[in-house]
């Protein structure tokens, strides 16, 4: 019986990956002492020479990983906070995501970039961001965003083994908050598959990261009121599990997409478009999105942060309205 937090699951998977494949190594800021969230704690002693503290320069962390992956190593990079990844955006957009395509598959990049994302930690504008909307616009890259410890563990392993570049998003608020009995728990091992976490006939909620947990909490309380929700844990954002999304949308006829990123241009728009395009005849209500308001970034002060973040109450309210439609 092993209960793991998200953080422990990540740390476990990293240790397993280093153990399983001598080509793997970890690089990033402060990783040798365990990193600011302690995801790599203890690994330096177990795997001498395979953790590299980098200079404070994210573009170099990703760019150097590209070179090492091209050579045949399997770098696992850590970007300390997702908010600081953007100086490496060019390396993702112009390089990593196109590597296989422009070499006609002759060369690919078996690399993972892990990064903590998301809010609710009083991190203010630069320690709370959702970055998925920018990076899911890059075919050639895979973007994984689990919610439960067992999936964190198995999908991080799958990401390391994948021959393509993977951006692996770890919701920092859930690191110590979410625990799970990991033995026998459902663990997705395939990148690109979603999971129906709860079945209910009235509507479907789509979410990932912290919002998945908030959605499950909302679904639980709605059930007591007689509203039954299907909840889909998206797990991988790119490539999307279109089949599961459409199947659940068709089954329930009402859909609510939840994310903590801002609304306009947010990832929810893609899911909404898919459903509108391919499940239109099955819909009993307009597609509903619940997201943060369109302001530049998450504010720091408590009241404004709470206002910004969707949560179980806001989800329940939106779901009730939708159910009553």
């Amino acid at each position: 019986m092993a209960v793991m937090t998200v953080l422990e699951a990540v740390r476990t998977a990293l240790g397993e990956a280093l153990d399983a494949d001598a080509r793997t190594f970890i690089l990033g800021e402060d990783v040798e002492t365990g990193g600011v969230f302690r995801a790599t704690e203890g690994l330096k002693a177990r795997f001498p020479g395979r953790l590299i503290d980098t200079p404070l320069a994210e573009s170099s962390i990703v760019g150097v990983s590209i070179g090492a992956a091209h050579y045949g190593m399997r770098p696992i990079a850590e970007i300390q906070f997702a908010d600081f990844i953007h100086s490496a955006f060019d390396q993702f957009v112009s390089e990593a995501s196109r590597w296989s395509y422009r070499t006609r598959g002759e060369s690919s990049l078996p690399m993972v970039v892990r990064t903590p994302w998301g809010g609710g930690v009083h991190g203010g504008q630069h320690h709370s961001q959702s970055i998925e909307a920018y990076y899911t616009h890059l075919p050639g890259l895979k973007v994984v965003a689990p919610s439960f410890p067992a999936d964190y563990r198995s999908l991080l392993r799958a990401s390391v083994d994948d021959p393509n570049p993977v951006l692996f998003l770890e919701h920092k608020r859930t690191y110590r908050l979410i625990r799970q009995e990991i033995d026998g728990a459902a663990a997705e091992t395939v990148i690109g598959r979603s999971r129906v976490t709860r079945r209910g006939g009235d509507l479907t909620i789509y979410a990932y990261g912290l919002m998945l947990h908030e959605s499950l909490a909302a679904a639980e309380s709605l059930s007591a009121e007689g509203i039954e929700c299907t909840v889909v844990d998206l797990l991988t954002l790119l490539p999307l599990d279109v089949e599961t999304i459409l199947e659940t949308a068709r089954n329930t006829g009402k859909v609510l997409i939840v994310h903590e990123d801002t609304l306009t241009g947010g990832f929810g728009g893609e899911i909404a478009a898919l459903i509108a395009e391919h499940a239109f005849e099955y819909l009993d209500a307009p597609v509903r999105r619940l997201a943060a308001p369109d302001i530049p970034a998450m504010p720091y002060a408590h009241a404004m942060e709470a206002f910004f973040m969707p949560d179980r109450d806001k989800i329940a309210t939106a779901a009730r309205e939708l159910a009553a439609y």
Partner: protein, 338 residues
């Protein structure tokens, strides 16, 4: 008889400092205020009254000596998150510092929209910045470019830590500024660490100042624990930049006496002996010892300053605590300028 009248003035020593008596007093008082504020802020964090704290303990001399080299109200300061003492020089009060820490509605540095220690007040010529390190160095170059194009005789001083000099933005800023001979001082506070990484992991050179050579830029490396030495190094560089002599890279060698932030446990990576060694070089203790030895101020006067500062901090906490918090919907404003 007041302490001031009793003072055995030592005019030559004061002249040697290149600082007036009044400036020396300001130097001491500002360093001390920054220190006491930071101590109190950390305590408030530990009491659960402030979710986040990041401070400049150990860097007060580096900050005060440099900021006092600028013309307040005219020159621009583009600071980084440890520069509480610089902001105090530029007109921030203890009350305002606490408003910022507690993310109160009337905090002039964004009213709770950013983490504390992300300062910026346009009217004071302190330029807003985010948390992404080194981005501000380019803004500083841009301000200096605009000033030069406008024949405005100002100087821009911008700060970062030594770890941040690894970023491309740092190198791009120096390159741009030197090509155009801009009136900007790149002021790097080398405190020995970037979170857990000591300088050998951050760069292959011993002195940040050596980076200037790649850009054909003037540079200096100064003992950042000595406020007077800092002033004596930065002031001529500022004067030279103002006269059109171009940019300067200045490294202040100091030490982060505290943890990186309230979320950091520095015992995980920092040798105790090293911390103890640097504690012996505490910039405020050093300053006090020096002015006492040189008989610039009698000890009673320094004690008076100490009392004044303590009272100011106490008042600031009490006052700021009772100021209003932002309302939830305040989050929506100012996305665009109307």
């Amino acid at each position: 008889m007041t302490a001031k009248e009793r003072r055995p003035r030592s005019k030559e020593t004061i002249d040697q400092y290149l600082l007036s008596e009044q400036q020396l007093e300001e130097m001491y008082e500002t360093m001390l205020l920054a220190r006491r504020l930071n101590e109190r802020m950390l305590a408030l964090n530990r009491q659960g009254r402030a979710p986040f704290f990041i401070g400049g303990t150990g860097q007060e001399a580096a900050q005060v000596g440099a900021a006092m080299s600028l013309k307040r109200g005219e020159d621009y300061l583009v600071p980084y998150y440890r520069d509480l003492a610089m902001n105090l020089v530029f007109g921030m009060s203890a009350r305002e510092a606490m408003l910022n820490l507690l993310a109160k509605k009337d905090d002039p540095h964004g009213g709770g929209r950013q983490m504390p220690s992300h300062w910026g007040v346009g009217s004071r010529k302190v330029v807003t910045g985010g948390s992404v390190v080194a981005t501000q160095l380019l803004h500083a170059a841009g301000i200096a470019l605009a000033a030069k194009m406008s024949s405005d005789p100002i100087v821009v001083l911008t700060c970062c830590g030594e770890g941040s000099t690894s970023k491309g933005d740092f190198h791009e800023a120096l390159n741009f500024a030197q090509i155009h001979r801009l009136p900007v001082i790149f002021y790097v506070q080398n405190n020995g660490y970037a979170i857990s990484e000591s300088t050998e992991k951050e760069m292959p050179i011993a002195h940040v100042a050596d980076r200037a050579r790649a850009y054909n830029m003037h540079s200096a490396s100064v003992d950042g624990m000595d406020a007077i030495a800092v002033y004596q190094t930065v002031k001529p560089a500022v004067d030279q930049a103002r006269r059109g002599g171009g940019p300067f890279l200045i490294e202040a060698r100091c030490y982060r006496l505290g943890a990186h932030s309230s979320d950091d446990d520095d015992s995980r990576y920092r040798p105790k002996a090293e911390l103890e060694e640097w504690t012996q070089k505490d910039p405020i203790t050093l300053f006090r010892r020096r002015v006492e030895t040189d008989k610039v101020f009698p000890p009673e006067e320094l004690d008076e300053i100490e009392e004044r500062v303590t009272a100011e901090v106490q008042d600031a906490v009490e006052w700021a605590t009772n100021q209003p918090d932002p309302a939830p919907e305040d989050a929506l404003g100012f996305v665009y300028r109307e």
